[in-house]
């Protein structure tokens, strides 16, 4: 099956205003959460790894709108946005970043390792690409039990060169698993540009050898993402097997907090920020369609900021874990 390159424009969409406002709020929540996390990192309240999602918000928010609550999500280490999009509590996520008892993993997992059975979020994973077979296995579990769910597996343009990705593609297609693979192409694997790392950069073609359909999507346009997501998820849920979506997106910050991102020009970043920002684009559309005015958008911003302020406070007030926690959860009782 040939891969198709399709782009949709937000302007053409017939999505209802309430849905647009919801997207706006969800993207803004991720943006403000990440800004706060970056700020707290600078203050020494968060240490170690912290990979910010700023710039890529439309990808997870658009994809989540294509899912049912029973569907699963698994991703790599740049995972705060995915968790918030799944509906996980910003307090629990932020408290995990500060290493506190109230964190999703009681401070034992940190930025890269949180999990929510309630929200069907199967983790942040730290080994690049290793979550791809995991997501494939979750999809296998759904098919095994004849459940109608789909598993979304996110990975980046760096992970796309890992061998286990292709092992997974082969099996997902061979067994027609309800798996949707989302390649978040933000153009840099740490500091290595896609041109320097990949023999071909049309990543949506990467399933072609296995007959897996793929599509490139403007990942800065939440409506384009949702539309492509609905198509891909529908395909997988219908028992037709896996689908690949390449989200063309961009991260404004460095790979991690310790990366000054000197491998790219300021102009390149500035151009994305000013011309393609997913939140600003949607804000403009809301105003143009008279779904909201500036005052209404500001009100959303204030509400989101309140949520983030409360999360940041919780993350600093929650106690540190008891020393005994060092030894728990290594092995589970039978």
């Amino acid at each position: 099956m040939p891969a198709t390159k399709r782009k949709t424009k937000a302007e053409d969409s017939a999505v209802k205003p309430a849905q647009l406002l919801k997207f706006y709020r969800e993207m803004l929540l991720i943006r403000r959460f990440e800004e706060k996390a970056g700020q707290m990192y600078g203050m020494g309240l968060i240490g170690g790894f912290c990979h910010l999602y700023i710039g890529q918000e439309a990808v997870v928010v658009g994809m989540q709108a294509a899912l049912t609550p029973q569907d699963a999500v698994v991703t790599s280490y740049r995972d705060h946005g995915h968790m918030l999009a799944c509906g996980m509590d910003p307090k629990g996520v932020m408290a995990e970043l500060t290493g506190r008892r109230g964190g999703y993993s009681k401070g034992k997992g940190g930025s890269m390792h949180m999990f929510s059975r309630e929200k069907n979020f199967f983790g942040g994973h730290g080994i690049v690409g290793a979550q791809v077979p995991i997501g494939t296995g979750i999809a296998f579990g759904y098919r095994y039990r004849a459940e109608d769910n789909v598993c979304l597996t996110y990975f980046g343009d760096g992970a796309v060169n890992q061998g286990q990705v292709y092992e997974s593609f082969n099996m997902a297609q061979l067994w027609k698993l309800p798996a949707v693979y989302i390649i978040e192409n933000n153009r840099y694997g740490m500091g290595t540009s896609i041109e320097r790392a990949s023999s071909t950069i049309d990543f949506y073609h990467r399933g072609a050898a296995h007959g897996i359909p793929g599509a490139a999507v403007d990942g800065m346009d939440v409506l384009a993402v949702q539309e492509a997501g609905l198509r891909a998820v529908g395909h997988a849920r219908a028992g037709k097997g896996p689908y690949i979506l390449e989200m063309q997106t961009y991260r404004y910050r460095g790979h991690s907090m310790s990366d000054p991102a000197k491998y790219r020009s300021k102009e390149e970043v500035e151009k994305m920020r000013t011309q393609h920002d997913p939140i600003e684009q949607l804000g403009k559309l809301l105003v143009e369609r008279k779904a909201a005015d500036e005052a209404a958008l500001k009100k959303i911003d204030r509400e989101v900021k309140d949520i983030i302020t409360a999360a940041a406070a919780f993350a600093q007030e929650s106690p540190e874990p008891d020393p005994s926690e060092l030894y728990t959860d290594v092995l589970l009782s039978a």
Partner: protein
């Protein structure tokens, strides 16, 4: 399957355990290269797909790395996979998934998830298995918190450990030595668990404690018979499970004998034998003088040609000689007599 004495083979014991657990729990499934072929992994998975359906016993592509991840994903989604590797050596391709994800998931996510997965690794030997089809590698897995490692020797323990492994909520690396597959022993027909972390004292003795791992238990029993001829009493201990490891049982025996020889089905350096010796010395230092030694594979990759392969492995006689030296303090000369182990010399496959 059973003879008049209620005995079945090691391979049949594994099969029986798997069938009983698949009947009990619809979430248990078996997968791996060749599990549904007509030989059925030496009989251990024979025709399970006919009995339980092709969804529950299936062949896989040669993709050990991702296949392990798929098993972990399925386990996270609530199933109980049994991943079979015809040779332990191929587990090297699964290390990332096993060590970085399976072993750590419950800890990283603070006990919210479990990975109830059994990884069966079959250890090859004889007829030129060579460097890449003969390794045990249990030390790699014992090293990692979050993994359990078991190496049952008798048909009874093979069945009980398999049932316990399937029911365990943690990832279990299940080691099976190919040379044990045709051994017969009494196996209760009903389902039962052999608990992990409990060693077996297979034979008692006062002069030396002999801890042997996997197939080396068979050779240790032969060594004990040799030593009995010269009046040396050997206590043979099979740890059964290597992680968790029952050091208390071993230490109790060493307290009595004052001598510990560990024979591993693996290299000695940084291995299970090194670990058992180190823990023993830590327990007894300053309290009691203990003589310790270990034996294992020659420190080389496994050769294929028979004359060299025979030198590579320990056997009843080499073990007996070492034990004799430990007890007699190097005084006197003795040469144990007897034939080489028949099951090895006569082994003609299938591999």
């Amino acid at each position: 399957m059973r003879n008049a004495a209620g005995e079945i083979t090691y391979a049949q014991a594994l099969y029986e355990a798997t069938v009983q657990e698949m009947e009990r729990d619809a979430g248990v499934f078996v997968y791996g290269l060749g599990v549904d072929d007509p030989i059925g992994m030496y009989g251990t998975t024979l025709d399970l797909h006919k009995k339980f359906g092709a969804d529950r016993n299936f062949d896989t592509p040669l993709s050990e790395d991702a296949m392990t991840g798929i098993g972990i994903g399925a386990a996270l989604a609530g199933l109980r996979p049994i991943h079979v590797h015809q040779r332990m050596d191929f587990l090297m391709l699964c290390m990332n998934q096993l060590v970085n994800i399976a072993a750590k998931a419950s800890y990283m996510y603070a006990g919210q998830v479990q990975v109830p997965m059994v990884v069966r690794g079959i250890i090859g030997r004889s007829w030129g298995q060579g460097a890449q089809h003969s390794q045990s590698l249990h030390a790699f897995f014992m090293h990692v918190p979050g993994l359990k490692v078991v190496a049952p020797v008798t048909p009874h323990d093979a069945k009980g450990c398999m049932i316990a492994a399937i029911r365990d909520n943690n990832p279990v690396v299940f080691m099976e030595h190919r040379m044990l597959y045709n051994n017969r022993g009494f196996v209760p027909p009903e389902a039962y668990e052999v608990p992990f972390g409990k060693a077996r004292v297979l034979a008692e003795g006062d002069d030396l404690t002999l801890v042997a791992i996997s197939h080396m238990v068979v050779e240790a029993i032969r060594a004990r018979a040799h030593l009995a001829e010269v009046g040396i009493g050997v206590e043979v201990i099979d740890p059964v499970s290597l992680a968790p490891l029952d050091m208390d049982t071993i230490a109790r025996s060493v307290e009595k004998t004052g001598r510990l020889l560990v024979v591993d089905n693996d290299w000695t350096n940084c291995g299970a034998s090194a670990e058992i010796i180190a823990e023993t010395v830590e327990r007894f230092q300053g309290k009691r003088a203990v003589r310790v030694a270990r034996l294992g594979y020659a420190p080389v990759p496994c050769p294929t040609t028979k004359p060299l392969e025979n030198l590579y492995y320990q056997n009843g006689r080499t073990i007996a000689l070492k034990a004799y030296d430990m007890v007699k303090g190097g005084v006197g000369h003795w040469e144990p007599h007897g034939e080489d182990a028949k099951e090895i010399a006569e082994f003609k496959g299938p591999f």
